[in-house]
């Protein structure tokens, strides 16, 4: 029983963590508090389904195409919409408020477009949803794929951020953008990269969600909120934190659902979130 809880929790947690990775990059590096994040994941989900149903492309291959497309989308969104805001905001607080407002608008814009294109219906595909035996616990293959993507993407990000020059630059911009030009860093470029990479991760997360979950055009907020909670809990811009927090939440939810009461899973999520913040006001791995 414990083992079941553990495995199911890990799998669930990894999907949460995957969902949060992109947001933590967008907020951490590009400093955009992106309330339209969930809508971006939905774009990934819808595109995957469309590509699967219209072109008959295998979702796994589609995913490989969707990721760069997401990067491009993020690139243009940043350049066209966020950059002017960043440019005109001197102090930090200003950008935060501006980006909250602007991306709240973006949320509706994307949602409106999705509703127009795909309608309000539930969308779902069945792909690789046969069970696989993991240590005696049956887990859907598509969940394991999401788990794999999370481990690979999260692990690669953590490593790259900690060990590579690119990662050091990313962190430098994340922490103190004002000082970055002094050492020859093009802050705009790095921020754009961060945002675009975040968007790429968002659509990939969305695409992998599409493989196992039913969704509809109005579900974006749910994803955003989950991702936000995880990002904040882990410490803003902290990839490791997001991974840990995501998995912790997955374990917690599964544990509460099995041992206590499924009715309390969401309450437990928010309760633990609040407790973590009270105990560590900067998140689990927050700087300062």
């Amino acid at each position: 029983m414990i083992l079941t809880t553990l495995i199911l929790g890990l799998v669930l947690g990894s999907t949460y963590a995957l969902l949060a990775l992109g947001l933590t990059l967008q907020y951490g590096i590009a400093r955009i508090m992106n309330l339209a994040y969930g809508e971006l994941t939905l774009v990934g989900a819808f595109v995957l389904v469309a590509v699967f149903q219209q072109l008959g492309l295998s979702p796994l291959i589609a995913m490989i195409l969707i990721a760069p497309a997401g990067y491009a989308l993020g690139w243009f969104l940043y350049q066209g919409m966020m950059r002017p805001l960043v440019k005109r905001s001197g102090a930090r607080g200003r950008l935060e408020v501006d980006s909250i407002l602007a991306t709240f608008g973006l949320l509706f814009l994307i949602q409106g477009i999705l509703l127009m294109l795909f309608g309000a219906n539930f969308t779902s595909i069945s792909y690789l949803d046969r069970g696989v035996n993991v240590l005696g616990v049956s887990v859907a293959l598509n969940r394991l794929i999401a788990f794999g993507i999370c481990v690979v993407a999260g692990g690669a990000l953590v490593l790259a951020l900690a060990k590579t020059r690119w990662g050091l630059i990313m962190r430098a911009v994340a922490l103190t953008p004002g000082s970055a030009p002094l050492v020859g860093i093009d802050v705009n470029k790095v921020a754009r990269q961060g945002f675009a990479l975040g968007t790429a991760l968002a659509v990939v997360a969305g695409a992998s969600i599409a493989m196992y979950q039913t969704f509809s055009a109005t579900d974006g907020v749910v994803f955003t909120m989950k991702a936000l909670v995880i990002v904040i809990m882990g410490g803003v811009g902290n990839v490791k934190g997001a991974l840990v927090a995501g998995i912790a939440l997955g374990l917690l939810e599964t544990f509460v659902a099995t041992a206590i009461d499924p009715g309390l899973t969401l309450a437990a999520t928010f309760a633990i979130f609040l407790v973590v913040l009270l105990w560590r006001p900067q998140g689990l791995f927050g700087a300062r």
Partner: protein
């Protein structure tokens, strides 16, 4: 090597620097002296890409710097240690230094440069893992200078490097500057510690309320009685350089 002509820097309506011209020869150490708010940092900032001038020309090895985004300057060998240091407080000392070596010109030989910097400031070697923001003010200043050196610059722009440093460290900084200079680095320095600065500098510009009001070789300026009164008056933390 560096030519600044008729540079004007304004913040809104307020003109911080008015039509200033200076010129720096390769290998020289040029000092800029002046009261607080005279416009020294604005001058240095304009050269280092931190302030956008209203008008004027900045040429570096014949190339105009004003058309260049700030982050490109490091690639051309210009390193600025700004007022307030501009370090990355959230990163470790070592990471700060490694960030200094980001420009392509600095990558090769970064390991040796790092060793040199540690040699110059042994404290940084001791504290290489500490988060820079938790260091004391003086320690942070060392990080800032060390990081600038890491970029393998041709020209080093220093804005009040001795600010807030203990006398012993000020001495260290100035002796380090002597050594840095000896390696042929061009230096432009803004300092309140005029005596120590003049002992090192080749050439001096005096700035008052936004205008360059005097200039000359350090030897000359040192013996100018009015300068003596204004800048050397209450002998400040004397140093044997």
């Amino acid at each position: 090597m560096l030519e600044v002509e008729n540079l004007t820097v304004a913040y809104g309506k307020h003109i911080a620097l008015d039509n200033a011209s200076i010129s720096v020869q390769a290998g020289q150490m040029v000092a800029i002296l002046g009261a607080n708010g005279a416009g020294k940092s604005s001058l240095l900032g304009a050269i280092g890409g931190r302030a956008r001038p209203q008008s004027g020309v900045i040429r570096y090895n014949g190339q105009s710097l004003l058309d260049m985004p700030a982050h490109k300057l490091a690639e051309h060998g210009i390193a600025l240690v700004p007022e307030g240091r501009g370090i990355f407080p959230g990163l470790s000392v070592e990471e700060n230094l490694r960030l200094g070596a980001i420009p392509k010109r600095a990558r090769e030989g970064a390991t040796e440069t790092l060793a040199e910097v540690f040699n110059l400031f042994p404290k940084l070697a001791e504290r290489r893992g500490q988060i820079a923001g938790t260091m004391s003010g003086g320690e942070q200043q060392m990080v800032a200078i060390g990081r600038a050196l890491m970029s393998n610059p041709e020209i080093l722009l220093l804005d009040e490097p001795s600010l807030g440093l203990a006398p012993i460290v000020v001495k260290e900084v100035f002796s380090a500057l002597t050594r840095i200079r000896a390696k042929g680095l061009t230096i432009v320095i803004v300092e309140q510690n005029a005596r120590a600065t003049l002992a090192l500098a080749d050439y001096v510009y005096l700035v008052e309320v936004g205008r360059i009001t005097g200039s000359g070789p350090a030897e000359e300026i040192k013996s100018n009685p009015s300068v003596e009164r204004a800048f050397l008056g209450g002998a400040v933390a004397p140093v044997n350089a």
